[in-house]
Chain length 388, copies 2
């Protein structure tokens, strides 16, 4: 049977590493220091929910030539040994007397000359997953080597998904699609939104998700307000629009799309908003293409919504997707990132129905050389109605 | 019905803030800058799974006097307005042209004099959840104010759980306990470990968990190897010991404990290891008390295991628990943190059965003034046997 700890054959990770190394060459970076679950998995295949514990940092050093080095707590040694990584250095963590920085510093000094540059993602949509005091200590111990921002160096590589990654993303989108299909079997008048959230997570697991890192949603008369609040126990009532949105995970890859349901026959405004969102998405599915910028896609979605008679919602109307619930770029008015072949994006137009009342529609696509290909099963053209 | 966005009455958060402010006074800190989901929830009651998206930073500033200030992306405005926080400053994020640092810097300069100190958790078991480049920019813009490590300032407060927190932790432990009780209904010879993981997550949701942030486990003949790998499809067979471990969440609070099951009658070595772990835990449940240090509890667990004829496993044998899957301190040989009343801890002794074969046992306790009180339903004294 497949060794789940590797997910892909070793050459997938080797190709990723080679692409990162080409990007490092172009950016004058002699080694990358990676600290987050998505970045570490991307290079190594090291996949574990243990990242949920903030107790321990995990490091991967990617030199500009040669193979990556893992500098990790002993508790991960067994798992990383099942990946393609051969240079593995461990310490017992957490330990107030031994942070692992000396070991990490040694690894970096092994592969970066004194005049060299160490790249660390520091920009928008990145985080440094290690104690800040350890970072300052590292900065001292690698001197005179410099630490520089490697956000673009990493993002320009990771944003072009391989066919193997696209297959994983399509799979988890289909899993969530199956779960969405079952919503009418448990969402009904009188059922609390918190119960709906629980049942929906169960449906995702039954359909084959490994785990559910994100579920959001909302329900309200003719539309809903904010879409990030936890579910309350308010029962669904006729006239509600119910929205569910999920970031379910299989083999480390996330889906992220939503579906709307009318509880009882929808009112005119809600039905019109749904139709406008569906049509606007349909239009942009046919026109979005590599070579445009993220802000162009935003404009296309806004224009299409206006043509459909809807008022576009604020904020971003989509984003990258892959090894975390959201990745760059943002489909927003201010993001000029070029759309490229292999990018997986959500198209997430929202429409303002009335003050404090919105509707959000979301699909997942991969950009092919000259068009977009859907990865999520397309939402129905009419809002599904759940009758009591 | 209860507003789930607040979880506790406002005075719970006000008391926490007052305790943080006393700790700040003692540590010479004029304002805290908090960036992580647990720290932000602790002060504000702002609870959302939206933290799963790395796209946006979220900031809370706690001044040494007066009320906290939230500096957050616009998308969180509705939710934070339902908490007790009144000073809310928002910007549209993510935005390559506007990081939010100017807004954050203004908030800090409003409450910290030029000679003042801004505390940021930088130490063991902390992370800075914001782009590192933004942190450097902030450092410049708040000059001459200094940024200092506030790890101890925050940890000494958060580690003493209130009765309201203890009630939440007891609740989620009971939820997981109910799920563990159902394991024999789905874990059987021939069922793959990945299927067992899925069913166990479903059981946690059915028992009332809001979501499942962590499930780990393992199965192997007479014991298992590492405990952080994803589940594979290998079917359970007679002679396996199956272990499941969960960090399920209710109202933002985590449980973290495991249970072991024998698939068919256990071998002698496995049964002896289970007994030793159970008895050693039982002994320490009776002797652990405030005033000891974390390393003392580690020694007590090791000594008790040896008395029971078992070889203690390496690494830490327990840890704090609360708003994340693991919190400080570590029950390890090197952590000298004083155990205090109100601490919630896992006792997690492990025994080495043979090379590469271990067993791990885990319970959750709260430290009362002179004893420990169990929060997890106690594991059965004999290993439960699942017959085909």
């Amino acid at each position: 049977m497949a060794d789940r700890s590797l997910i892909f054959p070793a050459d997938e990770y080797q190709q990723r590493t080679a692409r990162l190394q080409r990007s490092m060459d172009q950016n004058g970076i002699d080694a990358l220091l990676l600290t987050t679950a998505p970045d570490v998995f991307y290079v190594t295949g090291f996949l574990t929910r243990f990242w949920e514990s903030p107790a321990r940092p995990w490091y991967v050093v990617v030199p500009s030539h040669g193979e990556p080095i893992a500098v990790i707590p002993t508790i991960g040694a067994d798992l990383i040994q099942r990946t393609w990584i051969k240079d593995i250095r461990t310490w017992q963590a957490p330990n107030p007397r031994e942070s692992g920085v000396a070991l990490l510093s040694d690894a970096l000094r092994d592969v970066v000359s004194e005049r060299g540059c160490i790249g660390v993602p520091m920009g928008l949509e990145t985080q440094l997953r290690m104690p800040l005091a350890d970072y300052f200590e590292l900065e001292k111990t690698v001197t005179p080597r410099t630490l520089v921002d490697a956000t673009a160096c990493v993002q320009r590589v990771r944003e072009r998904k391989s066919e193997a990654e696209i297959a994983k993303l399509r799979h988890i989108c289909n899993v969530a699609g199956q779960a969405f299909d079952t919503v009418p079997s448990f969402a009904a008048t009188g059922v609390g939104l918190d119960q709906v959230f629980a049942e929906f997570q169960i449906a995702c697991l039954c359909a084959g998700a490994d785990w559910i890192s994100y579920v959001a949603g909302a329900a309200g008369q003719g539309g809903y307000g904010d879409v990030i609040s936890p579910a309350d126990a308010r029962p669904l009532v006729a006239g509600d629009v119910l929205m569910l949105d999920t970031g379910a995970v299989c083999d480390g890859y996330f889906c992220d799309f939503d579906r709307n349901y009318a509880i009882g026959p929808p009112g005119d405004a809600a039905a019109r908003a749904y139709d406008a969102l569906w049509q606007a998405t349909q239009e942009v599915l046919g026109t979005i293409t590599p070579g445009q910028r993220a802000c162009d896609a935003h404009q296309m979605l806004c224009d299409a919504l206006v043509r459909q008679g809807a008022e576009p919602g604020g904020g971003r109307l989509g984003h990258g997707l892959g090894l975390s619930l959201t990745e760059w770029p943002s489909i927003s008015a201010v993001d000029e990132t070029e759309l490229v072949e292999g990018m997986v994006l959500t198209l997430e137009p929202s429409a303002i129905i009335a003050p404090g009342k919105i509707m959000v529609h979301e699909e997942v696509v991969v950009l092919r050389s000259d068009k977009a290909e859907l990865l999520s099963p397309r939402a129905p053209a009419q809002m599904p109605v759940i009758l009591p």
